[in-house]
Amino acid sequence: MWIAGSDGRLPDNQILVRMPEFFMRILLMLNFLIIITMSAFMVRSLLGTVHSGEAAAFLEAAGHVPIEAGKIPVMVVILYSSLVILTTVICNNHWELFAKACGECILVAAISVTLGMGYTGAMFLVIADVIRYKIDWKERALYIVSVSMLYIIMNTEMVWKSLNIIPVDVYWTYYSIDFRGLLTAGFSTLKLINIFVFIFYVVIIALAQMSEADRIYSLNLKLQAANSQLEKYAKESAHNAEIQERNRLAREIHDTIGHSLTGIVTGIEASIMLMDIDAGAAKKQMQAIEEVARAGITDVRQSVRALRPDVLENNKLEDALKKIVNDMRASTGVDIKYENLAHLEGMSEDEEDTVYRIFQESITNSIRHGKATRIECFMRREENYLHITISDNGIGCKDVTQGFGLHHMQERLNLLQGELNYSGENGFVVDVKIPVRWGKEKWND
């Protein structure tokens, strides 16, 4: 039963489970030994009493007709088998456990009565069986107290008398004084061993449970420490990222715009001076400045790429658009319709950004300024343009002055050579055309 693992060592939890089981089995065997021995001596006493003509004296002392000699061991073995089988039944809830404990108590009581209350120690088996369930120590205590009370009651002389039980001492009177002493001492020793094994069993169960609790506690402490460490790391890394980003921006501005602007300023100064001397050279110079400015724009665009909206960073454009529509719909309750007939694969990042910003800005404007309750977003491809129309049923605007939003949109579109139209006559309509530089093949198909 105590088979070691392949590495010759038992894992911790297995020892904890197996040790109490081992002692439980010793208890079961010991009780069987005591019960069977006692019943054997009782049988010998009964047969001997009848044989030696002391029946009248025996019955006078007993006061009741004893169980016939042959029946005692048979009954005891049957009852004890029943008890052992009952200990193997595993309970799933408190009611089952309670019923089982009651059944075991009845069996133990029946065995004790059959043995003339000579042995009531099988009650410890009931306690041992109950406390191996992982129930509260409070509930365990309740079981232990109740079973112990029963044990005490069973060992009370008054109870034997009222139940017409012949005490085992009457059976022992058959034996000579010397042998009786030996017999009593022998059984007392066995009973004591039984109690010692039981105590050992309880201690081991308690230790097993305590060490388990300890393990859980120490694991919990470690987990807490790790958690706070992680939190610290998270904060630090966020701070680091901020600093990194700031440095990057500073560097980018310096490297790109700063660089270009310096070039442009210098170029323009030269042009001003050349203008009067040589208009042709000045024009050339201006063309060079344009080159520099364009390069600057390209540089800025590249730097800004790192500042894309988060949604686009993680999702496809289509999904990001749907998300924005859904989010706005959910947060404002405005009925937003979204329809897309175009393929959006293959767009460059700045194009995606622009489309996303247009959607974001237009919907926000419709809700914020137009007080719209219904917004329709329609996107389709017309020849080499991506055509986006976003219209609403809001109050519109008679004299549209470009605010920062529309201005920003215009700027972004200009970079893509796109086209922006808007009208506030009937609700507000934003109409955008972006030249397509992608997926031409598909369109041609």
């Binding site: 089995r25 006061g63 009741h64 009954m75 200990t87 193997t88 595993i90």
Partner: protein, 472 residues
């Protein structure tokens, strides 16, 4: 082995998630099967085993009998009354004959050769080994212990159910002899009241008339005082009474001393003091001489209480010469005390039924036959030395002829009827004889003590009750 292990694994996973006792090699294989049964099946098995053990407990010897037509009877040989009797088993045999004639498919048997002094042991051995006969004769001394230990069947149900059975046909005291703690455990079979034997020769010599049936303590004491002479020579020695003890006096003076069985006694009940005073006075007449039974046999004592069976035995021709032949003697009822009547003890032999019999109806009809059938009961008068417990049988003319016969004495059927009707059941409880010895001791020391009787009574009352507590 391999197969087992496989099975074991499956069982553990399926039935209790591996939480059950891991089956180990030292368990016999049959237990493996049990441990891998369904949980519910195991619980059912436990319950079945429990009831199986209860069933085994209730099995009696009769349960194993092949056929149920053999009724066994526990019987002792010889007379219940300790007198020689040549008609051992005669009445039982006749009863069996009558019974088997009435129920031809039932055979009644008994073990012969058990003498009376061995009968208690024999019966107890049979009880202990679970082979108690269906019907048993019960000696007066054994009745209460047999009833208390639960060896006898409570007959109340049978008595009430059987309309052909009339308990009023018995002498009421005889019927009560089968009663224990309000339950009827036995039917009476044969009885004998205690009577006062009188030495008529002395009375005639002293010129004293034979007392009447309703005589009392003052008559009794007067006669004793008048006849007592304590002369020097053996011939002149003459005494009043022997064997008249506290028990006789209590009965005569209406004291039910053992009313509470072996729980406690009370020396302070009315009548006790007078009884003790009478005994003290009777003792004082003898000037310290202890009058014995032998003195009565030799014809030097006037009175001695004796059971009726002695009268029967020694009045009959065969035994007449053996005892009490040197003088004329007769019988009287016991003398009445100031608070009581001419009451004496009635000794009754009973028959009971084994508590574990499985032939209850058969046993009951046999008991009824032997206990109340007039023909069988008449045989008691004929072949035994007691009285029939059935009133009509004992008081019939035929019985009168058999009992009193041609004797010319004052003893007659009227006196016998009075003695039997006025009788009480002798005290019977566990430890009765030991307690009686204690009371003997108490009475003796009360009478011999210097202090007055009342003070001594209180002291001894406590003493005896302490003793009774050790019995319980």
């Amino acid at each position: 082995m391999n197969k087992d292990r496989k099975k074991g694994l499956k069982g553990r996973i399926r039935f209790d998630g591996g939480k059950s006792l891991p089956v180990t090699s030292w368990f016999p294989k049959v237990f493996h099967e049990i441990f891998f049964m369904e949980r519910e099946a195991r619980v059912i098995l436990c319950v079945v085993l429990f009831f199986l053990s209860l069933f085994i407990l209730t099995l009696g010897e009769g349960s194993f009998r092949r056929t149920r037509n053999n009724l066994t009877v526990g019987v002792f040989s010889g007379s219940y009354w300790d007198v020689q009797n040549g008609n051992t088993y005669k009445i039982v045999d006749d009863a069996i004959k009558a019974y088997e004639k009435k129920y031809p498919n039932i055979k009644v048997t008994y073990e012969s050769g058990v003498i009376k002094s061995d009968y208690t042991e024999w019966l107890n051995e049979r009880i202990m080994s679970g082979s108690m006969p269906d019907v048993v004769f019960i000696l007066g001394q054994d009745f209460s212990s047999l009833a208390e230990m639960g060896a006898l069947k409570n007959l109340n149900g049978l008595v009430n159910k059987d309309r052909s059975f009339d308990k009023d046909a018995y002498f009421s005291t005889a019927w009560k002899a089968g009663e224990y703690e309000g339950k009827q455990y036995a039917l009476p079979y044969e009885c004998a009241p205690q009577l006062m034997f009188v030495n008529k020769t002395i009375l005639d010599k002293e010129g004293i008339r034979m007392p009447e049936a309703g005589w009392n303590w003052s008559d009794f004491y007067r006669i004793c005082r008048n006849v007592t002479t304590t002369g020097e020579s053996a011939d002149e020695k003459q005494y009043g009474v022997t064997g008249y003890d506290w028990n006789c006096a209590f009965n005569a003076n209406g004291v039910d001393f053992f009313e509470h069985g072996n729980e406690y006694v009370d020396f302070s009940v009315p009548g006790v003091t007078e009884s003790l005073e009478l005994i003290e006075k009777l003792n004082e007449l003898n000037h310290g001489y202890k009058v014995s039974e032998a003195d009565f046999s030799e014809g030097n004592v006037v009175f001695q209480p004796m059971p009726f069976s002695q009268y029967r035995a020694y009045k009959s021709q065969e035994l007449h010469i053996k005892k009490y032949s040197g003088f004329e003697w007769d019988c009287l009822t016991m003398p009445a005390g100031p608070n009581g009547d001419n009451v004496s003890e009635l000794d009754t032999l009973c028959i009971g039924m084994s508590a574990g019999t499985n032939m209850q109806a058969e046993a009951w009809s046999f008991m009824k036959l032997i206990s109340s059938d007039p023909d069988i009961q008449k045989e008691i008068l004929e072949y035994s030395d007691g009285l029939s417990v059935v009133r009509d049988v004992t008081l019939s003319d035929e019985a009168s002829h058999m009992i009193v016969g041609s004797s010319k004495g004052t003893f007659n059927m009227m006196m016998l009827e009075k003695a039997t009707d006025n009788s009480v059941v002798a005290p019977r409880f566990r430890g009765c004889s030991e307690v009686k010895e204690q009371v003997d001791l108490a009475v003796r020391s009360i009478l011999e003590g210097e202090a007055n009787i009342e003070t001594e009574q209180i002291i001894w009352n406590r003493e005896i009750n302490n003793y009774l507590q050790t019995l319980n």
